[in-house]
């Protein structure tokens, strides 16, 4: 199909042809022609956010909860610069989003025009790829290419900068063509290496699967294959923050999350294993701890679609470049064809060893009758919502780690959190994106009061679209994780890590036409949570929790997996100068 139309209309046509149903955006001078086209059609829904950062995080929430690329539309200059944090967040977490920015007309580019910014220059390092479209005839193809690049290979954010005169001018629209791009990352893994890995699995005495966001990004089929492989082999599995839900938390081989605030049994299994099978994770510094003491005696296999992830920080023995789903399918085939072998006696011993670590019960905490412990709040939230059709987003900090520890995820795409960039302010707009994609599901943003305030303007969005997002705020009147580090590393000098003048969250909710619930007594917690769940609209749930609770277990900076702190008693003087410089 080739037809003549304006650039602005092309944008809408291309979005439709790419199967887009929702755009998160904020209008401005340089995108007015596109907004004019949005006004004149009904197929694509536009969600008006209150800040461009919110638009991008909402698009991320949409993308992560659906597996489809999320789309955001913002204006030039400040619109584009406000999108930078969201773009970087999506880059570090490999989330496919397409951001459209308006730009001043081509003939004014470079003149320091009103609301002009070098958007492609600014966003070059925080996108997978970006384009400045200077001719209307090139616009349609660029838009299609953008969706291809965002989703092919390792997913990521892309940006298309569209000058206003290109939006007004008429050109030829071209429908998407399959395989038009030279960018075609290899998805099939090398069969020789896959066979080598299967042979290693057959012999391994203490194997462990270490899975990450790559499994989720590969699609639901990959999670299904992972479950089949894990349960057929009986090999224990742990996951990064990004990969939670790929294997069910109720599964018998589940060890829980690993890493800095991961579970004792997961981290010790990583430290003591003889075969580590990394599937779609990237040996991030939150995972590895001290590099020279990281899992010292294991053969390491790494399945990743991005060749640059392999041998980046950890030397691996069996590298497999390919899409997780494709590689797992081949792994299963090869493993079955070779007779479904495992080293069963050794595996049984390995599980016994893990069971002794599990007995440590690392998530135990001191309970209280007077104050709500944040862990308790999450345990109750889990108990009261786990059987529901539920999506969870989080902000960043202690609450995020507690949510990862105390909530169980049975399916992929149900858990959205800013892992790589650690963006405070991510969770609320992401919950809006997830709720838009799943209007009938329960969407909860587990938040801290400080993070939540960073994008609180999106209350307007939640109210306008009557989105029943539940903002579950664990309010300790502190920047909890900063406070924890100051306690452990900076002599308990709590420099600027508490918030004075916090708003009355109930009144704040009411001011936006939403519901506010305040709870501070553990005895009232269940009823309050039920009240939140039963309310058909956005709820700001202000849960006043213990102010000085620390998040454990914790691998201190510069330490190894087997040097974990399990509680307050372990914390005196453990972090040395070398660790203090790390973040």
């Amino acid at each position: 199909m080739t037809t003549e139309m304006t650039g602005a209309k092309m944008v809408i046509q291309a979005l439709k042809d790419q199967g887009v149903d929702t755009v998160f955006g904020y209008p401005g001078g340089a995108v007015l022609p596109i907004y004019d086209e949005i006004f004149q059609q009904n197929e694509i829904r536009h969600i008006l956010v209150r800040h461009e950062q919110g638009a991008v995080h909402a698009a991320e929430g949409y993308a992560r909860s659906t597996g489809k690329p999320g789309v955001a539309l913002v204006t030039s200059g400040p619109g584009a610069t406000n999108a930078v944090t969201g773009l970087t967040d999506a880059l570090l977490d490999s989330i496919p989003i397409v951001v459209l920015t308006g730009q001043v007309p081509t003939f004014m580019i470079g003149s320091d025009a009103f609301q002009e910014a070098d958007t492609v220059g600014i966003t070059r390092p925080c996108t997978k790829h970006n384009w400045l479209v200077k001719e209307t005839d090139a616009l349609a193809q660029t838009l299609h290419e953008a969706f291809h690049v965002a989703t092919a290979g390792r997913p990521g954010p892309v940006l298309i900068d569209i000058p206003k005169d290109v939006q007004f001018a008429t050109g030829t629209y071209q429908a998407p063509k399959p395989a038009a791009s030279h960018y075609q990352p290899e998805v099939k893994g090398d069969l020789e290496e896959i066979t080598e890995l299967v042979a290693a699995i057959e012999k391994a005495e203490r194997p462990v699967f270490y899975t990450g966001g790559g499994v989720i990004n590969s699609g639901p089929a990959a999670s299904q294959l992972l479950r089949e492989l894990v349960d057929a082999t009986g090999i224990p599995i742990t996951s990064t923050l990004m990969g939670l839900g790929a294997y069910p938390a109720s599964g018998e081989n589940w060890l829980g999350m690993l890493g800095m605030h991961g579970l004792y049994e997961a981290n010790l299994a990583m430290h003591g294993c003889d075969l580590m099978i990394n599937i779609g994770a990237r040996f991030d510094d939150r995972i590895t701890g001290r590099l020279d003491a990281f899992s010292p005696n294991s053969t390491k296999a790494h399945i990743d679609i991005d060749p640059s992830s392999i041998n980046k920080v950890i030397r691996v023995d069996i590298p497999i470049v390919g899409d997780v789903g494709h590689v797992l399918e081949d792994m299963l085939k090869v493993w079955k064809a070779r007779g479904r072998k495992t080293n069963a006696p050794a595996l049984a011993k390995w599980h016994e060893e893990i069971a002794t670590w599990r007995k440590v019960n690392c998530l135990a905490y001191t309970t209280s009758e007077e104050t709500i412990k944040p862990q308790y709040a999450l345990q109750r939230l889990e108990a009261l919502t786990k059987d529901r059709d539920r999506y969870i987003t989080t902000e960043v900090g202690q609450h995020q780690m507690w949510a990862a520890q105390y909530l169980g995820f049975e399916d992929p795409n149900r858990w959205m959190t800013s892992g790589g960039l650690g963006t405070m302010g991510y969770g609320f707009p992401a919950s809006i994106g997830a709720q838009i994609a799943h209007p009938d599901s329960l969407v909860i943003n587990v938040a801290g009061e400080a993070s939540w305030l960073m994008n609180m303007q999106e209350m307007g969005t939640a109210a306008q679209y009557r989105l029943p997002v539940k903002q579950f705020i664990l309010n300790n009147e502190r920047l909890g994780m900063v406070r924890q580090w100051q306690e452990l590393l900076h002599g308990e000098r709590y420099s600027h890590s508490w918030s004075e003048s916090l708003p009355d969250f109930v009144k704040l909710a009411e001011a936006f036409g939403a519901k506010g619930i305040l709870v501070s007594d553990p005895k009232d917690l269940d009823d309050a949570i039920m009240e939140m769940l039963n309310y058909e609209g956005p709820v700001l749930f202000d849960c006043l929790v213990e102010k000085h609770e620390n998040c454990f277990p914790m691998i201190p900076s510069g330490k190894a997996h087997n040097e974990m702190l399990l509680g307050e008693a372990d914390t005196q003087g453990v972090i040395q100068a070398g660790g203090a410089v790390l973040v």
Binding site: V120, G121, R124, P125, K128, H129, L132, V149, R154, H182, Y183, E186, D190, E193, D306, P307, S308, I310, N311, K312, R315, P319, V321
Partner: protein
């Protein structure tokens, strides 16, 4: 592009396994990158090097296929074996990058650089400069009564050697193109 074809970003065909891993030895590598000649592509490559803290000793770029709009970027860089492998893999991720070749590993290769050198002097020094230029097969491309501009082509260390000789003889300005390189053989 000819000779051994290393799949974009591949680690399997890498010579990485043949060398000490995570060694501290600094290696100098010449990397040829075939890219789509689109706006900003050079900025992407340079931004990758600065953003990730890699070194650039020299960099040359020009369109080499006018119909296919492909440019060839030749980068001379140094780093530990692990860093060199990362550089290649990271280059391979850039969307408009078509091919990445490590000429140092795939080699042997021919490396050439062109330099233009202005030498100002009189009397004996002027005669000596001209005599040395002849030995180095440098051409005189401009001359006044008290200056020469020489053009010299060769491997970078040959140019270094020539420039060092010219310094006491009145070298006043030096312009170098950076390295262009191709694999030997077919």
């Amino acid at each position: 592009m000819s000779a051994l074809h290393i799949k974009k970003g591949s680690t399997r065909h890498s010579a990485y396994n043949l060398r000490p891993t995570f060694s501290d030895v600094q290696e100098r590598h010449t990397i040829a990158v075939l890219v789509e000649n689109e706006p900003g592509v050079l900025a992407r490559v340079i931004g990758l090097f600065s953003g990730r803290g890699y070194n650039i000793e020299s960099l040359t770029v020009a369109e080499v296929d006018h119909t296919g709009h492909l440019s060839r970027i030749t980068i001379v860089t140094n780093g530990t074996p692990q860093v060199i492998e990362q550089i290649k893999a990271q280059l391979g991720r850039i969307v408009p990058v078509h091919e990445v070749h490590d000429l140092t590993v795939e080699g042997p290769s021919v490396e050439r650089e062109l330099a233009i050198i202005k030498v100002v002097g009189e009397g004996e020094k002027r005669v000596e400069a001209l005599r040395l230029a002849d030995i180095f097969r440098a051409n005189v491309v401009d001359s006044t009564l008290n200056s020469f501009v020489f053009e010299i082509t060769g491997a970078p260390d040959k140019i270094d050697a020539f420039a060092d000789l010219m310094r006491p003889l009145g070298l006043s300005e030096l312009a170098r193109t950076g390295v262009a390189a191709l694999l030997r053989g077919d």
